[in-house]
């Protein structure tokens, strides 16, 4: 098992290296660079030497392979470089936003789990009744409603009925838990609904499948209480694929909340990503993409481990 874990961890390195090469090349193909954008923003005429000087300062005048190697060499020493826009270390810029994004992703996951597991199980137990139809329509609708629009509707509702607007600044949970939760619960609901739709559908089909298994029939034939059959025999087995889905969705959320953050005016990873793309902040975009795909690969790995520890049939070599 330890060897398997080590192997999986080591295998992440070539994948992340591939991601690094891919995003590096793609960004350099893009027309325009940060220096041009900076000067275009000021609206004044920029002398050619000034542009060249700034490019040299950012290392953009060096050949591409040189830029790539110095970036990689930095990462090997855990120095991810400085933001080309603000000049501050990217790690610092990311760290102050990561708390918000992680908390939001966690809260959305909690919302999704509490909605999807009971709803999905109920729908499976009452298959083809009006309860089942309701849950199915609720979850298909959840996949269709864009979470940013749901966010807009929530804000609109608060604005019209309570004259309340989401605050402009983020309050950390450690500073003021109540203010923090009232700020984040609404985006968490907007995102969690969509997320729960995915998980509900998975729960329903997994429970349906498990209920047809022989061991469930055996458990019932033994005269066990329906509650025991359901919780001990059915749910315990049905939840494996659900855990997988929830894990993968969580991984998507850490970097994928781009639009919802925009709606609720939350300065998280997603907003930083969009801003740095617009500003052609190469170093920032590269680091963010690496971080997002690292989280994604890592969560995949954790999900595999959790599944293996829950299901004795799964053995990895």
């Amino acid at each position: 098992m330890q060897r398997y874990i080590l192997k999986r961890l080591l295998l992440m390195i070539p994948t992340l290296f591939g991601v690094a090469v891919l995003v590096f090349v793609m960004l350099r193909v893009a027309p325009g660079d940060i220096v041009e954008l900076k000067y275009a923003g000021t609206g004044t005429f920029a002398p050619k030497e000034a542009i060249e000087r700034e490019r040299a300062q950012l290392g953009l005048d060096k050949p591409l392979w040189h830029q790539f190697i110095s970036w990689m060499w930095g990462i090997a020493r855990l120095d991810f470089g400085n933001s080309m826009w603000t000049g501050r270390p990217v790690i610092h810029e990311i760290a102050i936003r990561l708390e918000l994004s992680l908390q939001l992703a966690l809260m959305a996951t909690i919302v999704a789990v509490f909605l999807s597991v009971p709803l999905g199980t109920l729908a499976a137990l009452k298959q083809d009744t009006w309860i089942d139809y309701f849950v199915r329509v609720f979850s298909i609708a959840g996949l269709a409603v864009p979470s940013f629009w749901l966010g807009i509707l929530i804000i609109l509702g608060f604005l019209i009925f309570f004259k309340w607007l989401p605050p402009l600044t983020f309050t950390s949970f450690w500073v003021d838990p109540k203010a923090n939760l009232t700020q984040l619960i609404w985006p968490a609901l907007a995102v969690g609904y969509r997320y729960s739709a995915v998980a509900t559908r998975m729960t329903r089909s997994a429970v349906l499948e498990v209920l047809r298994e022989d061991y469930v029939r055996t458990a019932r034939a033994k005269g066990l209480l329906e509650k025991v059959v359901l919780v001990r025999h059915a749910l315990k087995n049905a939840l494996l694929p659900v855990i997988t889905v929830i894990g993968l969705e969580f991984a998507f959320l850490v970097g994928g909340l781009v639009v919802t953050e925009q709606v609720f005016n939350l300065n998280g990873i997603g907003m930083l990503f969009v801003e740095s793309i617009a500003q052609r902040d190469y170093i920032m975009v590269q680091t963010l993409v690496l971080l997002i795909s690292f989280v994604f690969i890592f969560v995949n790995f954790v999900v595999d481990l959790v599944n293996a520890s829950l299901d004795p049939r799964i053995r990895y070599q």
Partner: protein
């Protein structure tokens, strides 16, 4: 002799379309939800095709005398902050959504299917390299990869189509490859090889038609996602650009700014997005149930 054999092997894999009408009728009868989705999709396609006849106003025409007006008999769904008719923009927006949705899912699914089949057919090192590359593309959330592509290509309708195609590719390639792997062992593939057919002919004429079911399932599943992704990109200002009528774009900026004064600007485009994605998902789900033999058994 060789010619007759060629005809026979090719004919054996041709997809049957003659019974198309009967199949549609049966689909509608057995899967009411899917048929309902199909009806909504057809209405949307119709609206998009004849938008010029239907829309009461020019979607781009600004009228500063009629800014932010509520729903009335002239402007059914109200007007936006430029005095443009929201209903007309919605109708023309279906054109944008469908065009981007169809073309990106079609490209994504088709190129993905070809990659998947070719990868399974050639196997070995080529397969390994292609799969690693696909894994690479799969290690990003959909929207993050789309945003990176937009960063490279820039905004605008055509670029958005590419930005949505790229993240779809590996997902389809993965699914199609797994069903093509078992096809590769089929005798008819060996027969085609024994007859000395080229790789291209075997891939396109013998293997691809046999992965039609997963291909169609992926294609319809992509449609809803593509429309959702397009509206997200446009909402961020990194997709379709003004003044083109697009649902996501209609929700951007003024719709949020004036939400209290003119809620219709925020409500109707979102409804349009939700309804169309809902319809595509309903249809796609039913199609998957109908085409997936594993599910048909249960």
């Amino acid at each position: 002799m060789a010619k007759a054999l060629t005809a026979a092997t090719d004919a054996g894999v041709v997809f049957h379309t003659r019974r198309g009408f009967d199949v549609c009728v049966r689909f509608a009868r057995e899967r009411a939800l899917g048929a309902a989705g199909a009806v909504i999709i057809l209405v949307m396609i119709f609206a998009a095709l004849v938008a010029d006849l239907f829309a009461p106003f020019d979607p781009l025409e600004t009228d500063y005398a009629a800014m932010l007006q509520g729903p009335s008999s002239t402007h059914w769904f109200g007007t936006d902050s430029f005095g443009r008719d929201v209903l007309s923009r919605l109708i023309y927006g279906s054109r944008t959504a469908l065009w981007i949705g169809f073309s990106s899912s079609f490209m994504g699914a088709t190129v993905g299917a070809v990659i998947g089949v070719a990868s399974a057919y050639f196997g070995g090192k080529a397969d390994l390299i292609v799969q690693r590359f696909m894994d690479l593309l799969l290690s990003f959330p959909l929207i993050v990869l789309a945003l990176v592509v937009v960063a490279v290509l820039g905004t605008g309708t055509t670029n958005v189509i590419f930005a949505i195609t790229v993240p779809m590719l590996p997902r389809c390639a993965l699914v199609v490859r797994s069903s093509a792997l078992s096809l590769r062992q089929m005798p008819f593939v060996d027969a085609a090889r024994a007859l000395g057919f080229g790789h291209r002919r075997i891939i396109f004429r013998h293997m691809l038609p046999n992965v039609m079911a997963p291909y169609l399932v992926m294609l319809t599943a992509f449609l809803g996602q593509a429309i959702l992704l397009e509206s997200s990109l446009s909402f961020l200002g990194l997709g379709v650009t003004e003044p083109t009528a697009a649902w996501g774009l209609m929700l951007r900026g003024a719709a949020v700014e004036f939400a209290e004064r003119a809620p219709w600007m925020a409500i109707f485009p979102g409804l349009a997005i939700s309804l169309s994605v809902f319809a595509f998902n309903l249809f796609g789900d039913s199609l998957r149930d109908a085409l997936d033999p594993k599910l048909r058994l249960s």
